[in-house]
């Protein structure tokens, strides 16, 4: 009897250690584990990097910054390099989860326009931790034949009963509240109970008119003309415009959110050197161009931008003009209490009839 137990234990131990070894073995190799938004990096660029350096890249993807936080915090995978949005980077910096970058290993970061390093100071005050990758705003992507174009300069059009069942809202707490808060004239970083409640009332009022709440799929729905307008990121709008020339994009006058997606190296990094090599590679003109072509968001890479066609450089959907950017706010991380409050308000909206 005892012996049987011993055999069982041995067997269990063997299999478990096998499982664990399977998880851990990657660290010793010449690898790089990257965590990025979906469809946010040209697969050919990764292949090129692998060929040039012999480093094997493992790419993991996520949908929203909150998803990213969960994946990172779960700790199942040791990420070496992560790309995410401004406020989430600030939150992680505050939590001490971000390593300082060694710019001497990333000489090509000089290709980036210093304006965007200045913008990044709102979440990374000394530019110690992050390198901007893409940036943009949030606005309304609309169908020119289905929507009265004189009205798209205001977020209020999303509350117009005429478009009932043709409106796609953002399925993300911060972006949806941003729209409501901007209509009310408040900061999108407010934590004031009454202001948030007012915004929630507004969003509840809007729900019956909404076709669906989407993030990544919004552009596809707009391209196939399933809805008249959608709240999307400027980059997505630029992409959708390429596929359907009846679409147009507007950043309402009430102001909007300017976002910067940046790379940072988290504390979990096992391959910091490889991560910096990859960052340097991403700043290279040709690679940055590949990624621009693939993602079609505004790139902070000055060299890449200069080599684009003139009309593309002047495309205000992709490259928001400075006056638009100055009218925008960057998201700030909220403290735990405010986050919980906001999540609850959002859940009430989602559960409403």
């Amino acid at each position: 009897m005892k012996r049987k137990k011993a055999i069982c234990c041995l067997f269990a131990g063997l299999v478990f250690s096998g499982l664990l070894a399977g998880c851990g073995s990657k660290n010793s190799e010449n690898t790089l584990t990257v965590l990025n938004y979906g469809k946010y990096l040209d697969p050919d660029a990764i292949e090129m990097f692998e060929e040039e350096t012999g480093i094997t890249v493992e790419l993991e993807e996520y949908i929203t910054p909150e998803n990213m936080y969960t994946k990172y915090r779960a700790g199942a995978i040791d990420y070496d390099l992560i790309c995410t949005s401004d406020y989430m980077i600030e939150k992680l910096i505050q939590e001490g989860e971000v390593l300082e970058l060694d710019y001497s290993n990333i000489p090509l970061s000089e290709n980036l326009d210093s304006t965007y390093f200045d913008f990044s100071k709102s979440f990374d005050p000394e530019n110690k931790y992050s390198i901007p990758y893409f940036f943009g705003t949030v606005g309304i992507l609309y169908h020119k034949d289905m929507v009265d174009e004189s009205k798209v300069n205001s977020w209020k059009i999303l509350w117009d009963k005429e478009y009932s069942g043709q409106i796609i809202m953002a399925d993300s707490v911060r972006d949806s509240f941003m729209v409501a808060l901007k209509i009310l004239g408040y900061s999108l970083n407010t934590t004031d109970d009454e202001q948030l409640k007012e915004a929630q009332d507004l969003l509840l009022e809007q729900k019956p008119l909404v076709y669906s709440y989407l993030v990544d799929e919004a552009q596809d729905e707009m391209i196939s003309e399933n809805a008249a307008m959608a709240v999307v990121y400027s980059g997505e709008a630029g992409y959708a415009l390429e596929f359907n020339d009846k679409l147009a994009f507007s950043v309402p006058e009430e102001g909007s959110n300017m976002w910067i997606d940046s790379w940072f190296i988290p504390k979990s990094a096992k391959q910091k050197e490889n991560a910096e090599k990859f960052l340097n590679f991403l700043c290279r003109e040709d690679v940055s161009m590949m990624n621009f072509d693939y993602v079609y968001y505004a790139t902070p890479n000055q060299k890449t931008k200069n080599s684009l066609d003139a009309d593309l450089q002047e495309n205000t959907t992709i490259f928001p003009p400075t006056e638009t950017l100055n009218n925008c706010e960057v998201l700030k991380p909220l403290d735990d209490k405010a986050t919980m409050k906001l999540n609850l308000l959002w859940k009430e909206i989602k559960a409403a009839d």
């Binding site: 067997f11 929203t64 909150e66 669906s212 809805a227 989602k350 559960a351």
Partner: protein, 273 residues
């Protein structure tokens, strides 16, 4: 010694159970009864009584009941028809029912999304025929529809299985003794297929109750089932404690419904499949 060897064969499964069933349940229990800082609390469990959570739980129960009802109403006659066919064609039709399951169910849901959307295939055809267009996508109706579509084979197969086991002699004997077809149906066929029905109900009701992917994709973010609340707690809010607490409550509902159904079927559903 030979006995030991034979028992060793169960080792991998035991390991599987320990690692992927027991351990997760223990972790859920731990998270469910603690706060983020690790102190004991009942708040995560009692938060099911928060009005939004209750609302989504009732919506889940409602949709699951409707889905199970529709599946049963479709499957029972189908199984009967199937059972009366020639043996060769029976095999072929069962094969057709299983055929869609060869494809990943997420892909099938996405396909339905394309079919049902405003400018989708179905509406284009309806418009072409001059009929009013469908406006079901992003409503609970679309969610129920897709649940029925997805889970129907799980209802048909056990019922068909139970039905094909009824010996023809019994039915003939009943006929010889003067029972009409209605009597035969209610006194013989229904009781004898009960285990299959119970098994089918469990296999449809449980996944329908706990599903979140279908409502996420076809509900357009507007249909918030309890599964979506749990998913959001884990993925968006980073509140594993709340997610675990709600999961535990949902588990109780699942176990309760299974116990209730098993007590109705004589041998319990599990024996059939």
């Amino acid at each position: 010694m030979r006995n030991v060897k034979r028992q060793l064969l169960a080792g991998p499964y035991l390991l599987w159970m320990a690692g992927f069933i027991l351990l997760p349940v223990v972790m859920i229990l731990y998270y469910a009864f603690t706060t983020t800082s690790g102190h004991f609390t009942l708040l995560n469990i009692s938060s099911i009584f928060a009005s939004i959570h209750l609302k989504s739980l009732f919506l889940s129960l409602k949709l699951a009941v409707i889905c199970t009802g529709v599946c049963l109403a479709l499957s029972y006659p189908l199984a009967m028809i199937l059972n009366n066919m020639k043996e060769k064609s029976q095999g072929f039709i069962v094969f057709i029912f299983i055929l869609p399951m060869w494809m990943n169910f997420m892909l099938r849901i996405l396909a339905w999304k394309l079919l049902l959307s405003n400018n989708g295939v179905i509406n284009t055809i309806l418009e072409g025929l001059g009929l009013p267009v469908l406006d079901v996508l992003n409503t609970p109706a679309a969610v129920v529809f897709c649940m029925v579509y997805d889970f129907l084979p799980f209802m048909i197969l056990p019922i068909y299985n139970a039905m094909s086991r009824i010996q023809q002699d019994i039915i003939e004997a009943a006929g010889d003794l003067g029972a009409g077809s209605v009597t035969i149906f209610f006194k013989i066929i229904v009781p004898l297929t009960m285990p299959g029905v119970v098994s089918g109900i469990i296999m449809v009701f449980v996944p329908a109750l706990t599903s979140f992917a279908i409502s996420d994709l076809l509900g357009g973010g507007k249909v918030l089932l309890i599964g979506n609340v749990i998913e959001q707690a884990f993925m968006q809010e980073y509140n594993w404690n709340l997610g675990s607490g709600l999961s535990l409550v949902l588990m109780i509902f699942v176990i309760a419904s299974m116990a209730l159904m098993s007590s109705k079927g004589e041998e319990g559903g599990a024996g059939v499949w």
